[in-house]
Symmetry: C2
Subunit: 738 residues, 2 copies
């Protein structure tokens, strides 16, 4: 039997989405039905209930391993069940350090003992609760060190180049770095690479304190006692339990010895407040910090000439703790073995009203509305799985162990993984697999911004236009056909799905009008959230709609809405960037070596100060990018052909199923079996967290980081690897167009 | 009689200047002799004596109108005379305000009375002297005003655009602006244009205080009590005595009534320290200051919502005071009516060891060395005139009145005016008429940097290369043939010579390794200078050499070393910038109006805050730059022909004299008789201080500012004016090539 499907696959978005339109992947008839379903779904969402859920789930501290964590997981389980979902808790057993001893003292030339304690404030009901985790960085090494203090700005590789030029090294010393400009874990890692024996990270008021805005509780910004907790695990090697890389941390899993776990830091690390940082920084002698390094403490920032000495002692309880992943399922009626997955973590550093409960509450609200839909008799074609992850904060523990434990099945069955995390007032942030750009364009044109009543797509585009730096950038945005999806780095639970398993991924969150300094502190509370983040929980509803519509459409589409032309165009853009990066590096090296040879650096330096001129760098060889561009040409042909073929073709029912499977498994072709150099866990050849940026993405990381690290042999080798994967995808998609 | 001159006119600089080379404008024989003369000159320069002069002339406060001013002028006169120069004091009578009453109080919501007083420090011998001028801004209006305080960032036009977007105006209010980003006088002028009734200017520690470096007396930077005095005269209309625009302020000159003087401010203005600013800023309510506005005081910067009220009372003594210009002459042996002029002011806000005595002392040292040369029997071909100007600080009073009084004679006779001012350790800054670029290239290749022992040219180029922002910029500098002369705006005594009279001008000064916060404060002292500016006075010698060699070569050249090909290339570059500016403005307007029409600004704004979207701007019409580019083509032809003709030609002696006069008077062709729109005193069509930047230059100001102010009719009209002047110069130079 044959039937003709007039699919909306090619109906790439127009600026305004009209309800009468045929949805991508649907027929005109199924489109109408789908929109009706979504309308019912929307009617089931309640901002009040989202607020209540946030309050309930942030009522006490609930970090992984704490009694609160189990209590929150049980609450969530009960809610899922009460809405009619088939829910259970899946438990993994993971390593998790909590502090036993924390000492930071200035011992010379004056003395100061850091208080290392955030202060409760009467305006914040939960700020004085017991059982709060002390301020610390998880995965710091145990250690008891004393040494001269050195201020290293943000503690990034470029900062050490500047220090070296000033004749300052950090070998055997303790560094103090500002929070910001990179993921925090990069700072102690780079400090260790340069020989430091300890690392202090503090929030400077210029970035995260009184210079940013009124401080808590008067305003939302960090007061002098606030401290940003957080993981410093070297998760750019692999995330998840350090003892079980690549496998699920089940009770009986084979585990590494802790000393062999490469993602645990080698030196003690401690985050502090600016109240504690000021006496330390004020005690520094040596050169004045270079331009741009000073923050806004009322002192002159010095680098440190040896006079200021600090003592840092850190001891941890290295416990094995349970990670409670709450998994809730709605079985698909037609394709039960095709899974639409949706996740958000539930663990927090302390109360976590914003991070992660704001996203968690919106997600739970989606299941309430889906439960209401189920009661009307609606059933999704595909299975829908909601996941409330534990242990995200210390290193994506719950989601990673789940993904590793179920890797094969997830690669077989998962159509898409849709993630969220903190959420607040403002503009939609959307990232993920660019084959879904047309789909997301359609989704975001159909969600109304609660404040302005235009679509969240239009509001975001307006913001991008107004903030664009040049007329050229504005024109580019105006000419853009639809929504762009940001490439994903890391920092939330999507990493395993996308970068380890090659599963199509989306990540959503609203924000930009919810600034503050509560992140990972005791002040990330319901009281703070209600005042400064999303006072009427309207953006909780907007997130539930954005993610919920995505879930519903992916679950019910006749043909899954992947369009690989967008992905090809995006990868081609990255490839152009790489060619330019190599050419620019070659030219810059040539010119810079000319300057070095002419002694220009020394001549330009102040002769009254210690200065070490840079040494000449190796010449950048010619690099042949043709394998890459050739592969992209092939991918373009396949993607074009596939799009045309499937939108025009007359399909048999059986083909239909085959096509969908082909579409959602396509991205796995981009995985390199051997993974990225020196970090084989990361297998996606297009996206990874940067080795020296952390959360920040590096696109086509194998080639890009090889260029950045001047490893020319590896550049050539990685061009072959990446081109191979793109060719594989091209060949794979070509099968679908036959 | 005929003689053949093999002149160095075309010997445009190579990177390294070798002594055997023929100097530009000299014959091989006269080159050798000239270099010998310069060697003798150099031997006559003593760093110790420069230090002694600085100490002597900064030993007490000596602002214009004070007893110290007369004492310093007399000392300088005596020195000139003792070195064998024919010197006298030329006195003008000028208006000069000093404060009678200064009151600044916060009156609500709390109270604070500003102390308005810098503190003497034991490390600085002169900091506690009597007769220091109080901290104030000259040419503030008398006034007694009270009103709500508004923080306006740097107080520039763009800041008011941001304020308007936030729904905040300054009508009837008192503004507080940070020093920096523009000449100070722009801030109260723009505040007044927006309806403010008073203006406070303070030094934020982020720009000029502890964040920049250790504060005085521990380090060189501004301590909490330091205040930058300074003129706020609207000198972009005209500099000099406000009562005698365009004419010398001789005793009997016709004077305006003070109320008709357009360069005196209409509102009271007061500069304060950050010690005094902090309580005022901390009292502000209303919105938090936008990103980038906050300084580094340990407070949250707010804009001001009306709660904080200040009272500002300023009363002045509007005295007529004598300006003592000390003029010293060495008569030329061959061309006594061709004048090489050299100037530096002698008046200071307080002691002024750096500003202006460091430059003054170097200049006086030049006359000492010239005096020594005179004793050997050497005589310059042309007359040399050294000028120590009074009253530069309040508004270039001494030099402007002198230039206006002698305008015709100066235009007839002055070959070049060579200026300096503050001087310190570091890199050569050189600006002026670009027809002298090849000449300055040769000069700066012949002066040795005291610290690195390479030429000051090479050291400066090394610094420019190392600091260049992009590889492209580095390549441009590497490919550059010789020294570039910066276009001159204002801020020192060259203005009248260049911009009013069209006299070829040069301006020199070393710096960049002499940072500090003493500018216009009681801490600009000998003690400060010796510690932080030029400890061994070696850069005093370098300045004396740079300016002295320039004086000597201009005085003795056979053919004056003007090369109009450099000027043409520079103006052509400016013209290209203007075309781009017009095109960019047109495109930006089009795109921006599209955004405004689409309501994007409002959609991008936070709806919980007051926001006023911008209104659409007028479309930029097509602008025909062909008259300008055509004129530049003609100038190129003339300049090329002149260069070729005069370097190859066989000259008669009489031609020689005619040629020189033609060369040094050529730049006057670029003067527009009617001057710039709304500020006719400024007649140079290529250089002027910016109407909204002050000291900062605007090149081809008539056209550029008309584009910036969106006055399209004026753009077209000014293209005709400027093209006319360039054509006039082309025609004029063509006469020289016949």
């Amino acid at each position: 039997m044959k039937k003709t499907l007039t699919l909306g696959l090619l109906a790439l978005s127009s600026a305004s989405f009209a309800q009468q339109k045929t949805l991508i992947g649907f027929t005109p008839a199924s489109s109408a039905k789908q929109l009706e379903t979504e309308k019912t779904f929307d009617a089931g969402l309640s901002p009040q209930r989202i607020g209540e859920t946030i309050k309930a789930l942030s009522a006490f501290p609930h970090n992984i391993g704490s009694p609160g964590s189990k209590a929150v997981a049980d609450k969530i389980l009960a809610m899922y069940k009460s809405y009619g979902l088939d829910a259970h808790i899946e438990t993994y057993t993971v390593l998790y350090p909590t502090p036993k001893t924390r000492v930071l003292e200035l011992t010379a030339p004056t003395t100061y003992t850091a208080i290392l304690k955030e202060q409760a404030v009467p305006e914040d009901a939960t700020s004085g609760q017991p059982n709060q985790l002390p301020t610390y960085n998880a995965w710091s090494a145990d250690g008891d060190v004393s040494g001269p203090l050195v201020f290293v700005n943000y503690g990034l590789p470029d900062d050490y180049i500047k220090l070296a030029a000033m004749g300052i090294d950090v070998k055997g010393k303790i560094v103090i770095a500002k929070y910001g400009r990179s993921w925090r874990g990069i700072k102690p890692k780079v400090a260790y690479e340069h020989g430091a024996i300890g690392c202090i990270i503090y929030s400077d008021p210029a970035d995260d304190g009184y210079s940013a805005g009124d401080v808590y509780p008067k305003g939302a910004y960090k007061n002098e006692f606030g401290v940003q907790r957080g993981s410093v695990m070297d998760m750019v090697i692999y995330p998840g339990d350090p003892l079980t890389p690549g496998v699920g941390a089940t009770k009986d899993a084979k585990r590494l010895d802790r000393k062999d776990a490469t993602t645990i830091l080698k030196i003690p690390v401690l985050p502090i407040s600016y109240h504690d940082a000021q006496p330390l920084l004020a005690a520094l002698d040596g050169p004045v910090a270079p331009g741009g390094w000073a923050g806004s403490l009322p002192i002159t920032y010095h680098i440190g000439g040896g006079k200021a000495v600090v003592h840092l002692k850190m001891e941890f309880n290295w416990d094995m703790v349970p990670a409670y992943d709450v998994i809730a399922k709605i079985k698909g009626s037609t394709y039960p073995d095709e899974w639409v997955m949706r996740g958000n973590h539930h663990d927090a550093w302390v109360n976590g009203a914003n991070d992660p409960i704001s996203g968690q509450a919106a997600m739970i609200e989606e299941t309430k509305a889906l439960g209401d839909l189920l009661k009307t008799g609606w059933k999704p074609k595909r299975s829908i799985i909601y996941c409330s992850w534990d242990g995200e904060e210390p290193g994506l523990l719950g989601s990673t162990e789940y993904a590793e434990a179920h890797d094969k099945e997830l690669q077989q069955k998962t159509v898409v993984y849709i993630n969220s995390d903190s959420n607040g007032r403002g503009f939609l942030g959307a990232g993920g697999s660019q084959a879904l750009e047309s789909f997301i364009d359609e989704i975001t044109n159909g969600i109304t911004d609660p404040q302005t009543k235009v679509s969240v797509f239009d509001r975001k585009k307006a913001m991008e236009l107004v903030n664009a730096k040049s007329t050229g950038d504005k024109k580019e945005i105006l000419e853009r056909k639809g929504e762009k999806l940001e490439a994903l780095g890391s920092g939330s639970d999507f990493s395993s799905f996308l970068q380890h398993l090659g599963i199509p991924t989306l990540d959503f969150g609203f924000g930009g009008e919810d600034g503050g300094g509560e992140y990972h502190s005791i002040y990330d509370s319901f009281d703070d959230y209600k005042r400064f983040k999303d006072p009427d929980f309207a953006y909780g509803v907007a997130l539930a709609q954005t993610a919920g519509h995505s879930v519903l459409r992916m679950a019910d589409a006749e043909v899954l809405p992947f369009d690989f032309r967008s992905l090809q165009a995006t990868i081609a853009k990255y490839a152009t960037e790489l060619t330019k990066l190599a050419d620019d590096t070659r030219e810059a090296t040539k010119i810079d070596n000319q300057l070095i040879k002419a002694n220009d650096y020394t001549l330009a330096a102040d002769p009254t100060r210690l200065y070490k001129a840079p040494v000449a760098k190796d010449t950048v060889p010619p690099i042949d990018f043709k394998p890459l561009t050739g592969a992209l040409d092939s991918l373009k042909k396949s993607a074009d052909k596939l799009a045309t073929y499937w939108s025009a073709a007359t399909l048999k029912d059986g083909d239909h199923d085959k096509l969908n499977k082909l579409l959602y498994q396509a991205e796995q072709q981009l995985l390199a079996a051997e993974g990225l150099p020196r970090r084989g866990w990361y297998r996606h050849t297009i996206y990874a967290p940067g080795f020296y940026t952390g959360y920040g993405v590096k696109t086509i990381p194998g080639i890009r980081e090889a260029i950045e690290q001047r490893n020319w042999d590896e550049v050539k080798q990685q061009i072959v690897v990446v081109a191979g994967r793109i060719n594989a995808l091209a060949g794979y998609l070509a099968m679908g167009a036959k």
